[in-house]
Amino acid sequence: MRVDLTLNGTPTALDVEPRELLLDVLRDTLGLTGAKRSCDVQVCGACTVLVDGSPVSSCTLLAVETDGHDVLTVEGFREQPAFTRIADAFERHAAVQCGFCTTGMVLTIHALLEDGAFTDEASIREELSGNLCRCTGYRAILAAVGDLAGIGEPA
């Protein structure tokens, strides 16, 4: 099936099987391996991409469903100025360990920052609970997002 989407800012036509998941198309067909596969069941967030600016688990989204939509992966996002700011906060707080959750985390945080969803520490805990990280124990991520949202470093 033909799918017309905007992928990382570029109008793109894809030929996909109806059963193909967006994550597989990104990783295997297009070689965009920044999105990671982990849980396969929309729990961990490692496969997160932004569809029309909202975080979506690409492991459970059919590629055909992106027809007519705007898809942003880390490969596109890393070229944007907003990326540098988030990356700098993550580096400053050492909020990256193995890195497997990182790209999904960063894209989710970007979308939520754009929405003004982080108003206090509780909102960070709430909004990011769909992105698992087994390594960092989250404290550095909480601190980095607190910085980015201008709500100060949590105690």
Binding site: R19, D24, R27, D28, G31, T33, G34, A35, K36, R37, S38, C39, D40, V41, V43, C44, A46, T73, V74, E75, R78, F83, I86, A87, F90, E91, R92, A94, V96, Q97, C98, G99, F100, C101, T102, T103, V106, I124, R125, E126, L128, S129, G130, N131, L132, C133, R134, C135, T136, G137, Y138, R139, A140, I141, L142, A155
Partner: protein, 767 residues
């Protein structure tokens, strides 16, 4: 165990060690450029899928793969029939595990066949088109069933030691007990005979899934040059040896390439999915990738559950005098690292106190469940909490504060933990005072809150063999080759800082890549908190060789005898005169290039046996404060504190991150996580049902106290960290919940379990 002091390390004051430099790998990971095995494509690569057993114990009557083989895109199907001319059994501790089931399946999820096809979807469809007839056998689903008289046996073939069992003389298998370990110190019976206070109990620790977010993934290529693997393995050199032995190749013809790992925590230690991927690639005559899904990784390895009976004896004044422990580890259907978990657990069971007598019997038991092996702080995690609960009971009866009773009884540096081997090498009294202060132990408590403290030790370092090469290029940048795996812990950053310190240059100009066993020098393994300590020491020694070269060249610029030459800021200095490293290298090689190369290793002074060990005792210490909701049984972690007794923090921020990660995994193990088996079948095999901590579970406050006494065997007096806090947090949470008035005997402390425990207690009080 001591490390042979081959060369003297020179401590410089370059300011590279001890600063929280940014992680060298953060940028590429943030950008999505960092490569993991699953991101790699080898030309001509096929996709493999494993057919796994749906039953826990059965004889395989027949396998019909004809329909699968006829499917377009299917290249081959691998079954037990392919190993008629090959001993297909492997296992580093016990050689008990076939590459694919050899006539018998012993757990749900055991590989029965594997398909190689042009893509994953085809391979998956083909796996479903293989028909297997099973003749089910009686099974043992739990340790109790496995130990029952006349229990069905999981294994009946003679025991064979694996390549790296490292366990001294292997005891014969006894029924379903595949390994046992006894620890004796002093006279336990005499201690109990004279005790004023004796507490006893039975405790249960569940099976746990490590959940490294990246599942086990392997690409194998077999051709006339040998076997090449791209693999998610923590111990590439041990896997290399096992693959070489299994497939009859010289060590050097097996090449293992390890890029970044998406977490390990022990789940990728030793050999896992490599043998089956190699066998499939050999049969397909093309490279093959096998990438586990989460349920498959859960069936590949896990943390063993444990059943513990423990007694502790004390005198009325709170002196701890005796401990008697029996522990049975459920290692599942294959030993994996279970024997080492058993030995380490036994060593951890007493706790670092001045006992008059200790006796521990530890058993590693086969059951018809998924095999289990390493997971962060193994052994200590399963046992430490039970010991802490008993010490708190004694403290309560003796009217002594839990911190005080531990402080009174803790070993001092130099005192013996077990006969032979390394004595206590850390300041435990200082540590417990710090952790108590960090939690605010003496502050008043709110209603329904509890506080707990936990103290333990873990035999760390494994076998002390590591080597490293440091190369300084003509532009002065340094490249370090070391076979230790970066799986998130930040070792590449630590190695850069160590080499930068020795070479008196910015660590930002030291680079460290992943392992390729063809070029990277030998490193025993990545685990047991050993990388900074042992691989780091090899890096320091290799850098020291380059440093000597630099000084020797510098003398050619300033040949006067006794000229005060020193290395500083990437240059050699004599007074105010300065020659940069590139200038020094040009002096040696002429202007066209060249490279200074330093090489070094670390090896044990003795044989490096387990009995001589450990390299150091990792301190497992933490404190916690919890709130228990009396209506729902829900436990909320309010505050935690951990001690990172690291000798010297190479990068303080990364030390804190290790403890923070361990704290959260400890919270998961203590409060939420449990693999639920019914008749050998795992009921919660997705992340929907297997709950790990999220950011919402983060305590309000977690303090990490870094202790730097310079008493470690690693570079600059350092020693490893990252595991100790894990066992400590589990113990601190269990004792904190008990302190809040809940009898604790089994983990995890789910709301249901806590609520039931409270209800039963109330009923008993009414009776």
């Amino acid at each position: 165990m001591t490390i042979a002091p081959e060369r003297t390390e020179q401590t410089t004051a370059s300011g590279q060690v001890g600063r929280s430099m940014r992680r060298v790998d953060a940028g590429e990971k943030l950008r999505g450029e960092a490569q993991y095995v699953g991101d790699m494509i080898v030309p001509g690569m096929l996709h493999g899928k494993v057919l796994r057993s749906p039953v826990a114990h059965a004889r395989i009557v027949s396998i019909d793969a004809s329909e699968a083989l006829a499917m377009p895109g299917v290249v081959c199907v691998l079954t037990g029939e392919d190993f008629k001319d090959q001993d297909q059994f492997w296992g580093h501790a016990l050689k008990d595990r076939p590459i694919v089931a050899a006539g018998v399946v012993r757990f749900v999820g055991e590989p029965v066949a594997a398909v190689a096809a042009v893509d994953e979807a085809t391979a998956e469809a083909a796996v479903k088109a293989i028909y297997v007839e099973y003749d089910e056998l009686p099974l043992v689903g739990t340790v109790d069933e496995a130990l029952a008289p006349d229990a069905p046996l999981v294994h009946t073939d003679p025991t064979r030691p694996g390549l790296f069992h490292g366990l001294g003389t292997l005891p014969e298998r006894d029924g379903n007990i595949c390994y046992s370990y006894e620890l004796n110190k002093g006279d336990a019976a005499a201690a109990f005979a004279k005790a004023d206070i004796v507490v006893e109990g039975t405790y249960e620790f569940p099976g746990i899934y490590q959940y490294a977010m990246e599942t086990h993934t392997v690409i194998a290529q077999v051709d006339s040059r040998g076997i090449t693997l791209w693999a998610t393995c923590q111990h590439p050199f041990l896997v290399r040896a096992e693959i070489a032995a299994l497939f009859g190749q010289p060590l050097g013809s097996v090449r293992i390439i390890v890029p970044y790992l998406g977490g390990g925590f022990g789940s990728k230690s030793y050999t896992k999915m490599e043998p089956i991927t190699v066998a499939l690639a050999r049969k397909a005559r093309r490279p093959v990738r096998i990438s586990n899904r989460v349920d498959e990784s859960m069936a590949t390895t896990r943390r063993s559950g444990a059943k513990i009976t423990m007694r502790t004896a004390a005198s009325n004044d709170g002196k701890l005098i005796g401990r008697d422990v029996k522990v049975w580890f459920d290692t599942g259907a294959y030993a994996d690292n279970g024997p080492r978990v058993t030995a380490t657990g036994a060593d951890s069971a007493p706790g670092p106190y001045r006992w008059e007598g200790v006796h521990v019997d530890a058993y590693c038991v086969y059951t018809n469940t998924a095999p289990s092996g390493s997971y962060r702080a193994f052994g200590a995690s399963q046992l430490q909490w039970a010991g802490d609960l008993q010490i708190d009971e004694i403290a309560h009866r003796a009217g002594i504060d839990p911190v005080e009773i531990r402080r009174m009884n803790l070993l001092r540096p130099g005192e013996e933990l077990r006969h032979g081997g390394k004595p206590m090498d850390a300041d435990l009294v200082g540590d417990i005072e710090k952790v108590a202060a960090a939690l605010g132990w003496d502050r008043p408590k709110d209603p329904d809150t509890g506080r707990g403290v936990s103290v333990g030790v873990l035999a760390a370092g494994a076998h002390p063999v590591s080597s490293a090469i440091a190369r300084m290029e003509a532009d002065g940048d340094v490249y370090v080759l070391v076979g230790s795996t970066e799986m998130g812990q930040g070792q590449r950053t630590a190695f850069a800082q160590i080499a930068g310190e020795v070479l008196a240059m910015p660590a930002e100009r030291v680079h460290c890549e992943g392992t390729d066993t063809k070029f990277t020098p030998y490193d025993r393994s990545t685990g047991a908190s050993r990388s900074t300590t042992l691989a780091g020491l090899a890096v320091a020694r290799a850098a020291e060789e380059v440093r000597k070269d630099l000084l020797a060249i510098a003398e050619r610029f300033w040949p006067e005898p006794g000229a005060p030459i020193e290395l500083r800021d990437g240059a050699a200095w004599c007074g105010t005169e300065r020659r940069t490293y590139p200038e020094l290298i040009a002096k040696r090689f002429g202007l066209s290039g060249g490279q200074l190369v330093g090489e070094a290793d670390v090896h044990p002074a003795g044989t490096g046996s387990y009995a001589e060990g450990p390299v150091f005792w990792e301190i497992c210490m933490a404190a916690a404060e919890v709130h228990v909701d009396r209506r729902t049984g829900r436990v909320t972690v309010l505050r935690t504190a951990t001690v990172a007794d690291v000798g010297r923090a190479i990068n303080p921020q990364l030390v804190e991150r290790q403890d923070e990660g361990a704290t959260m995994q400890g919270i998961g193990n203590a409060l939420y996580e449990e693999m639920v088996f019914a008749d050998g079948r795992l009921l919660n095999d997705t992340l929907l049902d297997y709950r790990i901590p999220t950011i919402a579970d983060l305590p309000v406050q977690s303090a990490c106290v870094i202790v730097e006494n310079g008493d470690g065997p690693g570079p600059f007096g350092s020693k490893g960290c990252g595991e100790g806090a894990f066992a400590g947090i589990i113990g601190a949470l269990a004792t904190a919940v008990a302190d809040a008035g809940v009898p604790v005997r089994a983990l995890p402390l789910t709301p249901e379990r806590v609520w039931r425990a409270m209800s039963e207690q109330q009923e008993e009080e009414h009776r």
